[in-house]
Assembly symmetry: D2
Homo-oligomer: 137 residues x 4
Amino acid sequence: MSVFEREVVVRFEHCDAAGLMFYPRLFALVNEMVEDWFAAMEHSFACLHVDQRKGVPTVEFEAEFLRPIRMGERLVQSLRVLHIGHASCRLLHEAQIGGDLAARFEQTLVYVDLNTIKSEEWPLDLRATMTRYEEQL
Amino acid sequence: MSVFEREVVVRFEHCDAAGLMFYPRLFALVNEMVEDWFAAMEHSFACLHVDQRKGVPTVEFEAEFLRPIRMGERLVQSLRVLHIGHASCRLLHEAQIGGDLAARFEQTLVYVDLNTIKSEEWPLDLRATMTRYEEQL
Amino acid sequence: MSVFEREVVVRFEHCDAAGLMFYPRLFALVNEMVEDWFAAMEHSFACLHVDQRKGVPTVEFEAEFLRPIRMGERLVQSLRVLHIGHASCRLLHEAQIGGDLAARFEQTLVYVDLNTIKSEEWPLDLRATMTRYEEQL
Amino acid sequence: MSVFEREVVVRFEHCDAAGLMFYPRLFALVNEMVEDWFAAMEHSFACLHVDQRKGVPTVEFEAEFLRPIRMGERLVQSLRVLHIGHASCRLLHEAQIGGDLAARFEQTLVYVDLNTIKSEEWPLDLRATMTRYEEQL
């Protein structure tokens, strides 16, 4: 099992007038993780959406925000696969600051054809690569 | 019990390259509802954040996306109060298109002092007004 | 000549950690004006982009920011047509707060086919409607 | 003279329903360059805005968009200093794709005190560092 990780700095534009990260921006960073993960699995979003006309819309999200996140802090984002279904997968995202968990997300996304917006089985090669990120419990 | 509602048109900038609403933008629209609701309760976010140095950060979010949302569609957003705690409240947001539920959110937010980022009891007048939006079960 | 106008309240999410409107958000509000103006001229962006596969990308922008814009202020946005070309048009946007000019933009946009990304002549009916917003000098 | 540069990939969320970069997102990327440049000059935006209560709002912008920018393309952004005034500076930003100029910006920003929103002279050390990025003509 491997974990997909990256580190980002909390930017000026992520923060609101309270000087804290504005949560819709954190959802955008979580989405960037999914995008970077697909790119790392050789299925870039450009290729997926434009060439293949497939998409991975989110159907469910659970989020916990455990501590405020401030401008300039270094956020370590991680992504693990909790479950791979026929046409869906469930991801666990964590965001840590200095070793402390700052936010935690569970996200279910579905593989769909963009012309019909109907779900489809994962392509076999993609599914095989996704399995490597599966959390062993 | 009253429901807080508004109608918005799904804009060009809400949509992604798939032509569907990009979910971080929908979270931003949900946040606008909270902002508009506070303004309707005579506690504008400008007054709250700048003058009083209080904030209402989100600590928990559950979201279900039930159908794709497309550019130009009219989205009816509603907000109900599920529970009012000492320093927190739990909201139910729904987004409907043509009478169909398109997305559903439960959000817990906390009233905090922005200088200390510690939770505080709701002011009595604000709490009394919030009660009017409480869902009777 | 008529002016296309709307009033918006400066929202929490438009403002940065300095409590002032963050300029990329103001460009987004300027873009909303163009979108609302096209909708008022019976060419909604949904219809334009999705059904007709046409777009109106911006090729030039000049912006002056004359005073800070704060959360909660009421912004009156206006749009006038300075010039209509073969396939382009030049717009003057102003944003006022309490009668004072806060920002001023000149924007040139071009009518293009989205499949080829080549410019095309304005459709006659659209061009005729645009003319009504032309500034008389 | 040195040029401040970085390379970014055009993301899913930068693109609109036409599959092209949405220009307010490009202004946000230009703003990120300014933020990264200040950080490289040892004046992070977190320190500047929160600790020192100073800001660098933009007062003027000129932008030219020379070719469409697509999802997945690699954008090389560069920043040069055109002029350093008493309390302001004028920057030249370029964005290139595969060696071709895709967009060009001239931006004037001003150093202000966030409490008074009045301009102030650049600190001497910051000004000295900025000079190293000045374009020799």
